[in-house]
């Protein structure tokens, strides 16, 4: 390792525990375009208001099902895509961090000119999508990414020396012989050697390719590495090698990891803190022990109970989740998980869309639905083509075929020939609430009710 790198290493160890990255109210919406004119018909809310901190020297795990926005969030943090709203702040001092939290707590139209000026100052210097030139380069050096697919993320036409040495070249760190030596140094760090310098990516196995990706990410001695499912394409024995390597590097160089994965056993092994995402929102966040031993959100519970562990009793039934993830372009009201939640209550945000979803799964009902006249998300008139369907819906909404929580939330229902008027109790979005030191969850239950 170079002397310069060692020096920063010492300084870095002192900074351990300071905030490295603050994500504040981050939104990333992708437009859905349709028709000949590519008119915007709606937005996929991939990341929909996410806030958390990553402290120096720790590993933050980001888990969730596919399509929950975890990769998009990783791309926002690494600066590969610009957020729609909100921001990712880098290198804030504690004072600045407190200030920004104080300002963001005030709604935009209630801020004093002084607050707006302060925010602007901090944004210009620390918000990564506002950084310019030198500052931007500094951020890019300090935040590197390891991608899931090591087949696609290494250029097949370049030699290892060019792939791993590329960041050094771009940042004018080294060239010629020095570059070769630096690349060898990096290769040795990740358990490879000089003999691999002049080979192409296709000559390596999956595990070795992932090692090359890690070597490339390490080239500029970054502080933060975003690991986007680094081991999900690997076999378990190779995964163990890579996870051990990542741990070793973290301890030697005081690295900070944002570890994105869907594999809970890997997260438990690697992470200090865990952020659980569902449909673009954080459903629970806390230390690894909190999440695995004292989960407070039914979704976290479901994830934990669904993933088998080799140490568990093999005969214990896996608890499975009903239904599928709702459309992220029309996320459910209230708690986004209420459509699949086994312990949902009447205050979880039952709405008109739930009725429509129920109709979709019921034989012969969705076809007769001709119109849904919405007043808002909770009140609407459903119009059917025949009276019997309307009658069937009205009876179903009073019977066991819908969850009892939904029946309790239904405050009004009138049937007029082919129209059914339904109104549910309006419920605001469920916010994250504090459950313990550093442990937050977005659930109406204070304690997780017992599941059977």
């Amino acid at each position: 390792m170079t002397a310069a790198a060692q020096q920063t290493g010492v300084a870095r160890a002192d900074l351990r525990g300071e905030i490295a990255i603050s994500v504040r109210d981050l939104y990333k919406h992708f437009p859905i375009r349709e028709g000949a004119l590519q008119r915007v018909a709606g937005h996929v809310r991939a990341v929909d208001g996410v806030s958390f901190d990553v402290r120096r020297g720790e590993t933050v795990g980001l888990v969730g099902e596919s399509g929950c926005g975890k990769t998009t969030l990783g791309r926002c943090v690494s600066g590969l895509t610009d957020p729609t709203m909100g921001g990712v702040y880098f290198d804030l001092t504690t004072a600045e961090n407190e200030r920004i939290d104080a300002i963001l707590a005030v709604p935009e139209n209630g801020r004093t000119p002084e607050m707006t000026a302060d925010l602007e100052d901090i944004d210009r210097l620390h918000r990564i999508d506002r950084l310019k030139n030198k500052e931007w380069l500094r951020y890019r050096r300090n935040c590197q990414v390891v991608f899931q697919d090591a087949f696609a993320s290494l250029n097949p036409r370049q030699l290892v020396r060019e792939i791993v040495g590329r960041p050094l070249k771009v940042h004018n760190e080294a060239s010629g012989n020095e570059l070769t030596e630096r690349v060898v140094e990096l290769l040795e760090r990740v358990g490879m050697s000089r003999q691999h310098l002049y080979r192409y990516p296709h000559q390596f196995s999956g595990g070795q390719r992932q090692r090359l990706s890690i070597a490339r990410a390490m080239a500029l001695d970054p502080e933060l590495i975003v690991l986007d499912e680094p081991t999900s394409a690997l076999d378990v024995s190779v995964q163990a090698q890579i996870l051990n390597l990542l741990n070793e590097l973290q301890q030697d160089l005081d690295l900070t990891y944002l570890f994105i994965t869907h594999d809970l056993s890997v997260i438990r092994h690697m992470a200090d803190r865990v952020v659980v995402m569902y449909l673009g929102k954080v459903s629970e966040a806390g230390s690894t022990e909190d999440i695995f031993d004292d989960a407070r959100h039914p979704y976290t519970h479901a994830l934990l109970r669904a993933s088998p562990d080799v140490d568990d009793d093999p005969d214990a039934a896996l608890v499975t989740l009903e239904g599928s993830v709702p459309d992220p372009a029309r996320p459910p009201q209230g708690c986004r998980f209420h459509t699949r939640c086994p312990v949902a209550t009447e205050t979880c945000g039952w709405e008109v869309d739930d009725v429509v979803r129920w109709l979709e799964d019921e034989q012969g009902m969705f076809e007769t639905l001709t119109d849904v006249a919405r007043e808002d998300a909770f009140t609407a008139d459903l119009v059917f083509s025949d009276e019997s369907s309307a009658e069937r819906l009205a009876t179903a909404l009073r019977s066991e075929s819908v969850p009892s929580a939904a029946r309790e939330a239904l405050i009004e229902m009138k049937t007029e020939t082919t129209r059914v008027h339904v109104a549910f109790k309006p419920v605001p979005e469920i916010e994250l609430t504090r459950r313990g030191p550093g442990h937050v969850a977005a659930c109406v239950h204070d304690q997780m009710p017992a599941l059977d």
Binding site: S265, P314, F366
Partner: protein, 439 residues
């Protein structure tokens, strides 16, 4: 060729169950520029009626090639069938209950077919079992088509690729019935056994455009529609079996309109439509999320216990295999290195590779950074030397491991392992042992 056959006798009901398929010294090689790749190199195992056999191993160990060779889905060339055979004992629909399940067939709706040579007496061709035994590796293509999707069905890893994007769900599942249930369809539609030749062509999906035009005209149309309604009912029933909500709606959909879990259910419905004797599931949940994976696993388990089919479950995930399988075979570099009942394999793994695999899974008992990784990588399978395939990565290897190839030998409890630690070679020299690390 003399082969050390390992056919463990598991306890309980399955021990008495008949062997539905057996793989005998199967060798599948591939020709490549660098030489002959021994992808599957002498694999032996039996699958019994009603059991779930797990086949686990890392990428490239030959587990998928083994599974695909059951239905001869390995392309040849570049593949070469270098030896061995896959024997299969098909069943037929129980005549007593018409496939509904009765005492005679043990609620399976299937009965074994008598061996045509000895009429159930037991002869050399049927290995003294009295039921018809087919060698799948030499069977003519036409006869094999009758078995594919009917007696042996397969669930593929990636449902998004395995389903045809240009056909509706109904069309894909209906094909199974058209191809394998022709007479039953005619019966159910009340058309008798000798219908109009055009209808017969329609039902076996061989009608040409002009014939399809004729079928749409009045005299035949009503009869054609009657067949279609029967098929609709069968498809809907097959889909309902996999707990798909509102099957009638799903039938009209194209695969891209469905979620991953739903697509996998359609695949399962398609595979189980004809109540197969053997179901081959090639990593059915790898492409799915954990929550969906759990549901699909429960579904396969539930359907298997109802249909009592044998299942060959291929996976690289040991924690899944542990939950779903009765027996497990661990593959490494084209060979089975260990085979036995699931509890035994997990409680007392005999092969160093199996031990390594189990230790490499991150679990709550591991400290961070202390995963026991197997060092090195999977060896090249091009013209392998006569030695234990695991020798370069094994912590206990001694000289003999590098010179003689250990055979899969079963121990006292029928727990088979191919390792000199348990079965030292006759030519005694230094013998490896778990108590001594050599590297």
């Amino acid at each position: 060729m003399t082969v050390a056959r390992v056919s463990p006798e598991p306890s309980g009901q399955i021990a008495q169950a008949r062997v539905v398929a057996s793989v005998v010294d199967l060798k599948i090689h591939f020709e490549s520029k660098a030489g002959r790749v021994h992808a599957v190199d002498g694999v032996d195992f039996d699958i019994r009626d009603g059991e779930t056999l797990g086949l686990v191993g890392e990428t490239g160990c030959g587990k998928t090639v083994t599974a695909r060779s059951f239905l001869r889905l390995v392309p040849m060339p570049p593949g070469i069938h270098a030896g061995g055979a896959v024997f299969f004992r098909p069943h037929q629909r129980c005549a007593n209950c018409a496939g509904e399940g009765c005492v005679e067939c043990g609620d399976t709706g299937r009965l074994p077919i008598e061996c045509p040579q000895c009429l159930g007496g037991g002869c050399h061709a049927c290995d003294d079992t009295g039921s018809e035994t087919i060698d799948l590796s030499t069977l003519p293509d036409r006869a094999l088509r009758d078995i594919r999707g009917d007696r042996i069905a397969m669930i593929f890893q990636d449902p998004a690729k395995a389903l045809n994007p240009a056909l509706t769900v109904r069309a894909q599942i209906a094909e199974v019935f058209y191809q394998h249930r022709t007479t039953e369809l005619l019966e159910r539609a009340g058309l008798g056994s000798r219908p109009n030749p055009l209808l017969r062509r329609h039902i076996t999906q061989r009608a040409r455009t002009i014939e399809r035009g004729l079928l749409a005209l009045p005299p035949l149309r009503s009869r054609r529609d009657r067949i279609e309604r029967v098929v609709d009912d069968l498809v809907a029933a097959a889909l309902a079996e996999t707990q798909i909500p509102n099957p009638l709606k799903v039938m009209a959909r194209y695969p891209h309109e469905l979620s991953g879990g739903m697509k996998q259910r359609v695949m399962i419905a398609q595979a189980l439509a004809c109540n197969p004797d053997l179901l081959i599931a090639d990593e059915p949940t790898t492409a799915l999320d954990v929550t969906v994976q759990a549901r699909i696993m429960e579904l396969i388990k539930d359907l298997q216990s109802r249909h009592k089919s044998a299942v060959l479950y291929i996976s690289h995930d040991l924690s899944l295999v542990r939950r779903i399988c009765d027996r497990v075979a661990v593959m490494y570099a084209g060979r089975i290195v260990e085979i036995g009942r699931t509890e035994e394999i997990f409680a007392d793994p005999l092969h160093p590779y199996t031990r390594g695999l189990l230790a490499a899974i991150p679990s709550r008992s591991h400290d961070r950074g202390r995963l026991v990784a197997i060092r090195g990588t999977v060896p090249e399978l091009i013209d392998p030397p006569p030695s234990c395939r695991f020798v370069a990565r094994c912590d206990y290897a001694v000289e003999v491991c590098g010179t003689i190839d250990p055979e899969l030998t079963s121990g006292p409890d029928q727990h088979g392992v191919a390792c000199f630690i348990h079965h030292p070679p006759d030519r005694a020299g230094e013998v490896p042992s778990f108590s001594r690390r050599t590297s």
